[in-house]
């Protein structure tokens, strides 16, 4: 392989105001031959470059996805070229006057030090590193390039490109249950809990969950009238799934779970909660601490305490109504005062959704049913 050659890539030149951008496809395995990944480094007190070091855990997640079947990477990486890169027009007439067909001509000199390569990676550092490291022969990707007027221009582009807002959590939680295929680790873990929550909320058009005490009460982007926060229910489910009663339905080898049994378990217990405190259950968190994050989570601990290790089928034999009824006299969900013993008391709405208040209330409820 010669160490000096020219890479010609078919490209579209698009006019944006007084700038041009170039869209083209390139084998991700070769990006590093002509692209440098600049990092923040100080030379004589001047900031040189502007990128963070590779985040390996992030790269590994992408790499594992790329090596999975049917991987697709539709978002383009962004490169800043210097004046050594040329665009050669091949077809003057196109249907629109802002797009021109041609080729990008990129000079490659493998002897050049990292800093003197003709292109800089503005966005796509982790993606291109993942492709470089993946066990694949080639992986062509979409790229967008522009010819920059020096480093400060590149830097501003870098900030603009990377200033994206993450998706709202609620939307992700709603999309997860019906998402198939490879998911990033933090979402893979949440898929089962969100699916359970969606069914409790009866967003799915089945008749099987019509008996859910949470039906239509959990607030999500598509169920805006719900008044119980999705995050409260999700935390309760996850907690029980990892530390409490729902763990028994999970397979530790692959993380899957017996959904039907989990749902039955939750419906039986929370159905009894609803029956024990009908008024507090029917009011929004502003008016009731039961439908509030603090109440949902604390009662989740009560559920785990009373039912850990007991299969859902056998729950009716436990007579759970009894311990729950004992809670009536020590709860101040909608009015009055919580008496926590040791002289500690709070107004009914003085409890907040903080770890320490959740703990305070959980311990109070657990003491009362023991």
């Amino acid at each position: 392989m010669a160490d000096k050659y020219t890479l010609c890539l078919p490209a579209l030149r698009i006019r944006q105001g007084k700038h041009y951008i170039y869209c083209f496809g390139v084998d991700g395995k070769r990006i590093h031959d002509f692209t440098t990944v600049s990092r923040v480094r100080r030379e004589d007190d001047h900031l040189q470059g502007y990128q963070r070091p590779e985040v390996l855990s992030h790269i590994n997640a992408i790499r594992r996805y790329l090596e999975s079947d049917g991987a697709m990477l539709p978002n383009a990486v962004v490169l800043a070229f210097d004046e050594r890169v040329k665009f050669k027009v091949s077809k003057t007439a196109t249907l629109v006057d802002y797009t021109t067909v041609g080729e990008l001509i990129i000079p490659i000199d493998e002897a050049l030090p990292e800093n003197d390569k003709p292109a800089w990676l503005v966005d796509g550092q982790q993606r291109s590193a993942a492709i470089r490291d993946a066990e694949l022969a080639e992986f062509p990707i979409a790229a967008v390039g522009f010819i920059a007027d020096g480093q400060d221009h590149q830097r501003s582009q870098f900030i603009l490109v990377n200033n994206t807002k993450p998706l709202p959590k609620g939307l992700i939680h709603e999309l997860l249950p019906d998402t198939a295929g490879h998911l990033p680790a933090r979402y893979a873990r949440r898929q089962l809990p969100t699916r359970i929550m969606a069914r409790l909320n009866n967003e799915v058009t089945t008749q099987s969950d019509i008996d859910s005490p949470f039906r239509g009460l959990i607030s999500t982007p598509t169920v805006p009238d719900g008044y119980i926060k999705d995050n409260s229910v999700l935390k309760m489910i996850e907690n029980s799934l990892y530390e409490g009663a729902l763990y028994q339905y999970r397979d530790p080898r692959d993380g899957s779970g017996d959904e039907e049994a989990m749902l039955l378990h939750l419906k039986i217990f929370w159905g009894l909660v609803k029956a024990t405190f009908p008024e507090a259950w029917s009011l929004p968190p502003r008016k009731s601490r039961l439908s509030h994050g603090v109440g949902i989570q604390a009662l989740g601990y009560v559920m785990d305490h009373l039912t850990d290790g007991i299969p859902a089928r056998e729950l009716p034999t436990l007579d759970l109504g009894k311990p729950l009824a004992r809670l009536k006299s020590v709860c101040a969900w909608t009015s009055g005062v919580w008496e926590f013993g040791n002289g500690e008391s709070r107004r009914w709405n003085g409890l907040q959704n903080t770890p320490s208040d959740v703990r305070l209330l959980s311990n109070h409820l657990l003491r009362s049913i023991r």
Partner: protein, 412 residues
């Protein structure tokens, strides 16, 4: 002689992927993970010792348990929480080292006994307060007053503890904690604990002592020890003196050192029946703070670091299957030492480890399953597995010593 392993939430994840160095995204800590007694073909200890300070937190830090884990330990009890097989015993203690700086212990006898009972321990040590010094010639009159006070306080708390156990019809076997600063003071503590009714006594605060000093204390204690009294040494291994200890009435001990040496010791990381070996350091580029700083500062190229790191692992694995000469493994390791700017070189020690291939001679389940990975010093999953292996070696050594253990009768 019985060996207890002190719990510090040390588990390994069976679904950990060694090739890509990552956990399953679905892993649930502790519940999906496995303890040493679950991954090895037989438990490498006779019992576990669980400290209240590790579970509930204490003056120093918040403990090692999350709130839900703590709740589950109380709910399920210690046997179910740890998924203990039959024959592995449980001993509770306070973890007095955690509050050694305090004037008085921050826990009450009541709280401690409640903890033992709720979790369903077989036995529990009375509340004690560590004396942080040794002066064999000091008498109660000449010794530092705080030392004398701590010994008396420990005895008072022991009296209170055994009373509470008897009054509550508890099934817990009470274990009296003895503190001291000299052979005489330890012996006096043991004498007093025996008259309170204790038949099992734990000797605390001896970790900093030199072995000859421990022996001297045990000899003095032997003069007052009743034949049925069983002694426990808190936090001490000293396998070379084990027989001597047994002769002097030690029935059990606990220690983490064999486990911790796998990742805390500079040289003795992998134990074998005959000798110890250094583990081969291939730190993760992500996990090594010096390397990370140098990459951030542009001193080291991340690309080179990653390439060399992978090359080390690749050659080590190929060496294990006989496809790579030793020199080429050492060459990669030497390059990686240069990149990570290691302060000293371990190459000669690596040569010794790799030439001896001790993992091939070991029959423990972990060495069988993981081969050369077990001697790679890298990340908690490998390091803890090596620690578990060390425990199994220690346990075998211990059981080999033909110990003339004195048989005491169990109380209750």
């Amino acid at each position: 002689m019985k060996f207890y392993f002190p719990d510090s939430q040390d588990l390994v994840s069976p679904t950990y992927d060694f090739l890509h160095d990552e956990y399953s995204p679905l892993r649930v800590r502790q519940r999906d993970d496995l303890y040493a007694h679950e991954v090895l073909s037989r438990p490498p200890y006779d019992g576990i010792l669980v400290s209240k300070a590790i579970v509930d937190g204490s003056v120093r830090g918040a403990g090692k348990y999350t709130a839900p884990q703590r709740a589950r330990l109380h709910r399920l009890g210690v046997r179910k929480f740890f998924r203990l097989p039959r024959g592995v015993e449980t001993l509770g203690d306070n973890g007095a080292f955690n509050y050694v700086e305090e004037r008085i212990p921050p826990v009450t006898v009541r709280e401690t006994l409640d903890f033992y009972q709720e979790c369903g321990f077989d036995a529990g040590v009375s509340v004690d307060h560590v004396i942080f010094g040794y002066d064999p010639d000091a008498t109660p009159e000449t010794v530092d007053t705080e030392w004398a006070e701590r010994r008396l306080l420990t005895l008072r708390l022991a009296a209170e503890f055994i009373e509470a156990v008897d009054a509550g019809n508890s099934t817990i076997q009470p274990v009296g904690a003895a503190q001291g600063w000299s052979p005489d003071s330890y012996a006096d503590s043991v004498r007093q604990l025996q008259s309170m009714g204790y038949r099992r006594i734990a000797l605390g605060g001896m970790v900093p002592l030199k072995t000859p000093d421990i022996i001297r204390c045990l000899e003095k204690i032997a003069e007052v020890r009743r034949p049925e009294t069983q002694l426990h040494l808190l936090g001490i291994t000293r396998i070379e003196s084990m027989e001597e200890f047994a002769r002097l009435g030690i029935a059990s001990f606990d220690s983490t050192s064999a486990f911790r040496q796998s990742f805390m010791d500079d040289r003795r990381n992998y134990h074998s029946p005959e000798t110890d070996y250094v583990a081969v350091r291939v730190p993760q580029v992500e996990g090594n703070s010096t390397l990370k700083r140098n990459i951030l500062g542009g001193v080291v190229s991340q690309r080179d670091a990653i390439r060399t790191e992978r090359e080390c692992l690749r050659r080590l694995r190929r060496y294990d299957s006989g496809d790579c000469p030793l020199e080429s493994v050492l060459d990669a390791l030497s390059q990686y030492e240069a990149i990570t700017k290691s302060e000293k070189t371990y190459l000669d020690a690596y040569r010794r480890t790799l030439e001896a291939t001790p993992w091939k001679a070991c029959s423990c389940a972990l060495c069988r399953e993981h081969g050369i990975e077990i001697i790679i010093f890298r990340g908690t999953e490998r390091n803890k597995r090596r620690g578990f292996h060390n425990l199994s070696v220690l346990f075998k050594k211990m059981k080999k010593l033909t110990l003339c253990s004195t048989n005491g009768s169990r109380r209750g």
